[in-house]
């Protein structure tokens, strides 16, 4: 019988194979992360160069007349307004629905149906949400006779936020130990006091993280806004502007990137830069926030 040496032998076929597959998987992992790195750096370089103070204050100029494209103020404010409208609709409904699923439902057919529906809704392409609101609000002029409006845009985005908010609320509440509920009910608290004062505050961290991620997702959507908020070159000055066409960063990028003029293309790059930076910031902020509240909670 031949005794192999105990020392590591590079040439052994199993060791060669092992090395090969290790390098292959590292290689694939690198390729997977490459698009993110390229996209972010490319946008940071191309867009970062276009950032000027005027960008944040001026209206965009109509394409074609001169070399100066103006700023993106209406689109920036528009994105904020539309996302806020979407949050105002989606957060209460989503948190409420999540509370029903986690706290009140008894796993019967109705709650199964809702859970299934939420999962389907999460998979619905964003353009469908836009077309739906277009058919419901825009083409029917049901909202005070207005057609394309910031309000309709907010509603379309709220449809996209809803499943994220419901799911994270449902899952966040399910993580709260039952002992805490029993403790509260066992001293004579009613169901709603228990949820409001004990369960929701305990799950606040995960719900807040989910809501922030939902907002970040909605803020970058283009397709639903093309059908609902359309676009506007003009400053948002008052409440009634909610019921007219409203610009947004995503649609500005879509419109101006396709223009044949260099000035407009540069504006699109600048808007991309700002959109990417804001979404990155919101994501990072929500993680820091989560880590921070976790530390303070468990004394």
């Amino acid at each position: 019988m031949i005794m192999n040496s105990l020392y590591y032998q590079k040439k052994l076929s199993r060791n060669v194979g092992d090395k090969f597959f290790t390098s292959l998987s590292v290689f694939c992992a690198l390729i997977a992360i490459l698009p993110l790195i390229f996209v972010v750096t490319y946008i940071l370089i191309k867009g970062g160069a276009q950032i000027t103070p005027e960008l944040f204050t001026l209206e965009p100029n109509p394409p074609g007349d001169d070399l100066d494209a103006g700023g993106i103020n209406p689109a920036l404010i528009g994105t904020l307004v539309i996302t806020t409208i979407a949050s105002i609709i989606a957060i209460p409904v989503g948190v409420g629905g999540g509370i029903y699923l986690a706290e009140y439902s008894n796993g019967g057919p109705f709650s199964k149906f809702i859970r299934f529906g939420v999962n389907v809704l999460a998979g619905v392409p964003s353009i469908i949400a836009g077309v739906f609101i277009y058919a419901l609000i825009v083409s029917t002029k049901i909202l005070f006779g207005s057609m394309y409006s910031g309000f309709a845009g907010g509603m379309a985005l709220s449809i996209l936020m809803l499943p994220t908010v419901i799911k994270t609320t449902d899952e966040g509440l399910k993580l709260v130990p039952n002992e805490l509920r029993y403790a509260s009910l066992g001293i004579g608290a009613s169901m709603y006091t228990t949820i409001l004062k004990i369960t929701l505050p305990t799950a606040f961290r995960s719900i807040a993280t989910g809501v922030v991620l939902g907002i970040a997702r909605a803020a970058g959507e283009t397709a639903p806004l093309i059908f609902t908020a359309l676009f506007s070159y003009y400053y948002i000055v008052g409440f009634e502007d909610l019921f007219y066409e409203m610009g947004s960063l995503a649609v500005l990028i879509y419109n101006f990137a396709l223009e044949p003029y260099d000035a407009q293309n540069k504006l699109a790059w600048a808007a991309s830069f700002i959109l990417v930076i804001s979404i990155l910031t919101v994501n990072i902020f929500s993680r820091i926030f989560a880590a921070f509240t976790e530390k303070t909670k468990r004394v």
Binding site: N106, A183, S184, G186, G188, T193, V299
Partner: protein, 269 residues
């Protein structure tokens, strides 16, 4: 160490009449008749799976929270069947408080842990005084008095459990149910909780589930021994029943049932 109880003079505060409890189609306990007397500490003992915790949870309708759990028979409290359709379980739980197996303080300050229950019950008096007196009654005041604003989690397991007892006392219930309150605690904390129970006996009726027979012997006036038998149509499932109920002294010294004798002496369990 068992006091002579003057059974006949105490009134029944809580009575179970022919109570059977099932989870879905599985019957956990059947045909229980049991009278709890005001001002007594009654312990429920028995092997695992005999349904003693199920019976305890039935006494303040905590079983409502378990899906598929149903109860037949009547549980009379203060002359009312608490399983009557018109009864509000929230009100029942306000008058029959519960302390659980695992210490479960709220993720709030020690002060708020006590104040929460009192506030939702409409307490309008001096909250500081109530917090102090509740913590004193639960024998945890000296450990807590300098850190009332710290989280309830900053206490040790035994202190947390006494905080939970204090929280229950603060709502001034008539009966306190305890589901193996010491099973997660060390012997010294256990001893302190038992001392607390002796103090509480002056004002409250206590019903305790315990696996620890020495504890039943030390703290309780009355003892109910539950046992489990296999179904007659035998597919291996077991159903719990009340085997014997008497003064703790009699249960431990001269039980009537053979199974009680065997359980007490450690032959099964």
């Amino acid at each position: 160490m068992i006091k002579n109880t003057k059974k006949s003079q105490k009134k029944n505060i809580l009575s179970l009449e022919d109570v059977s409890i099932s989870y879905g189609t599985f019957e956990a306990v059947k045909n229980v008749f049991l009278n709890f007397k005001a001002g007594d500490i009654t312990s429920l003992i028995g092997p695992s799976g005999c349904g003693k915790s199920t019976v305890l949870r039935a006494l303040n309708r905590m079983n409502d929270l378990i899906p598929n759990c149903s109860l037949k028979g009547t549980v009379l409290f203060d002359g009312t069947n608490i399983y009557d359709k018109r009864v509000d379980p929230v009100e029942v739980r306000r008058r029959i408080g519960m302390v659980f197996q695992q210490p479960n303080p709220f993720p709030k300050s020690i002060y708020e842990n006590i104040a929460f229950g009192a506030r939702i019950n409409g307490f309008t008096g001096d909250m500081d005084e109530l917090v102090e007196s509740s913590l004193r009654k639960a024998a945890v005041w000296s450990e807590c008095k300098d850190k009332l604003n710290d989280s309830g989690y900053s206490l040790s397991g035994g202190q947390q459990q006494r905080l939970c007892i204090a929280r229950t006392i603060a709502i001034e219930p008539e009966i306190i149910l305890m589901d193996e309150p010491c099973s997660a605690l060390d012997p010294i904390s256990t001893l302190k909780i038992e001392e607390t129970m002796h103090e509480l006996k002056k004002n409250y009726t206590i019903i305790i589930v315990t696996h620890n027979m020495q504890q039943a012997l030390r703290v309780s006036d009355m003892t109910a021994f539950f046992n489990a038998v296999e179904y007659e149509d035998g597919d291996g499932g077991k159903v719990g029943y009340l085997a014997e109920f008497d003064s703790t002294e009699k249960i431990f010294n001269s039980p009537k049932e053979k199974t009680t004798q065997e359980y007490i002496s450690g032959k099964f369990g």
